[in-house]
């Protein structure tokens, strides 16, 4: 019988593989080729009886997420093994967009912000665009996705706060250099918001298009509840990807986010 159409279906599929990325991040490959998912989009992972969290998509075929064990729900997700069921809805949000006729792009990932950056770099490579990457972490053991990233990028530049790998310092030491030396059609950033703010600012100074992927506390994921507001925009539907212009138009960008109650907190 034909039924009323439901737009936000909950998928339940088995976990194909769990990969330990480092001391706290695990990647989960799901038995689902979500071909419609695009770089920058996210899914809402549902753990029955526990809760729901948005997770950035690290790959679409197979659908992959990477989870840092930092809270009760992410901790529970990290306990899952190959063969276990995983439930989720999506994909949601506005994806990254690559300018027409782009030849070279730069992706900048801080910490596990590299997850959607890898997916974007991989998609760019498949469209014959050359991706360059700058990856930053606190120390060498915080760096993830190194192998696949090197496989799809023309060049990868690494920075660590303590100098245990790559150049010592934050991503800007490499980003500033690269923006001088090479011509990029667009620069993309995902990571701590202050980092994205500095990347976007550096691009603005040199008139290079830039897109950032913002994170806000999220509840419904579908643009109704208003929890993920950044000024008057909603991260779940107007974002998570914003152009640098859109981001700078929001006074809260790089400065404040809202907690679960809606109170503004400093980043």
């Amino acid at each position: 019988m034909k039924r009323f159409e439901i737009n936000n279906k909950i998928y339940t599929n088995k976990i194909r593989k769990v990969i330990g990325e480092n001391y706290r991040v695990k990647s989960i490959e799901i038995d689902h080729d979500m071909t419609k998912a695009l770089p920058g989009q996210f899914i809402m992972i549902w753990l029955p009886g526990i809760g729901e969290r948005p997770m950035s998509i690290g790959n679409n075929v197979p659908l992959t997420i990477s989870v840092a064990n930092v809270g009760n729900i992410s901790g529970e997700i990290c306990k899952l093994k190959a063969g276990d069921k995983l439930s989720y809805r999506g994909p949601y949000g506005k994806p990254f967009s690559v300018p027409e006729k782009a030849k070279q792009i730069l992706v900048v990932g801080g910490g596990y912000g590299i997850v959607p950056m890898y997916f974007l770099a991989k998609a760019a490579r498949e469209s014959e665009i050359e991706p360059f990457a700058v990856v930053g972490g606190k120390t060498e053991k915080d760096l993830i996705y190194q192998k696949p990233l090197f496989a799809v990028c023309k060049e990868v530049f690494i920075t660590t706060d303590d100098g245990s790998k790559g150049r010592k310092g934050n991503v800007m030491v490499e980003v500033d250099d690269l923006l001088q030396k090479k011509k990029f059609d667009c620069v993309y950033a995902c990571g701590p918001e202050k980092m994205m703010y500095f990347v976007a600012q550096a691009c603005r100074k040199q008139n290079i298009p830039c897109q950032v992927s913002l994170e806000r506390y999220m509840k419904c994921g579908t643009g109704v509840c208003g929890s993920c507001a950044i000024n008057g925009k909603f991260t779940c539907v107007d974002g998570p990807v914003f152009t640098a212009e859109e981001a700078f138009a929001a006074s809260e960008f790089g400065k404040k986010h809202r907690d679960a109650t809606g109170q503004a907190k400093d980043w």
């Binding site: 069921k85 208003g226 507001a229």
Partner: protein, 307 residues
Amino acid sequence: MLETKFFNKKIKNPIFLASGVLGMTKGSLETACDNGCGGVIAKSLTMEPRKGHEGPNIVEVECGILNAMGYPNPGIDYGLKEFGGWDREEALVISIVGKDAKEFGMLAEKVETVKKELGASAIEAAISCPHTPGYGTMAGQGTPESVMEIVGAIRDKCKLPLIVKLSPSIPGEGKAAEAAQKAGADVINMGNSLGPGMKIDINRKKPVLGFGVGGLTGPAVKPIIVRCVYDIYKTVKIPIIATGGITTGEDAVEMIMAGASWISVGSAVYYRSPKVFGEIAKEMKSWMELNGYKKLAELKGAAHEKI
């Protein structure tokens, strides 16, 4: 054509953003205004900040949405600062929810204290949430007796026009509306989400919503709200805001014919994005033009006219 009065303001149309949708921050209320509504009803404020229920908070069902947000809000003190200083042409309504009459009175007093700086046109008391322990229908609010008590307590402390948001899920809404009118309410808002209802995911064998149950909204509830508005229009003299399932201009016209003076829109944002406010206004206008109506007043309560 759609211009109407709302207490101290002349607003461009009778369409309001319903409380609980989008309006967590002042910026998001402004987004609703930029998209063409005549007024906004802010997220309901409680005495203390609340994180709300664990997710999922929303699940789509056939012809509607179940939600259990659990009143996430920054608390009355923070909220009044957040929403305050309202100087737009659209009307702002501050919504409050308390555990009992005494708490409603305390919340109303806080609103009254900052009334001048706030810039709000009215205050709304929601006594009808079906899925938050300690509040609304889960706390037995909404019976004629409790309506009398709560409205009375607010009226004592706050002089702003008072809207009482009633549940369509209680028996005898007409009696509750009469009680609200008698205790000094200026407007009835009919209504709130229905139920509660439940959605079970058959693959996981578990209720989807984090809270287990949630209120039903969307097109599925509209016929019930139309009937409630129609009944309340017959029982009270004070004007009515209709809330529930309004997704198109024709839905809005139907509610006004049932007796509503204004309408508020929530779930339609899910189906049609925040653009829905301007779109409903446009659709109302074209329907009225097509059918030879010039003013909203010609439509109000039209379904009650004897032939």
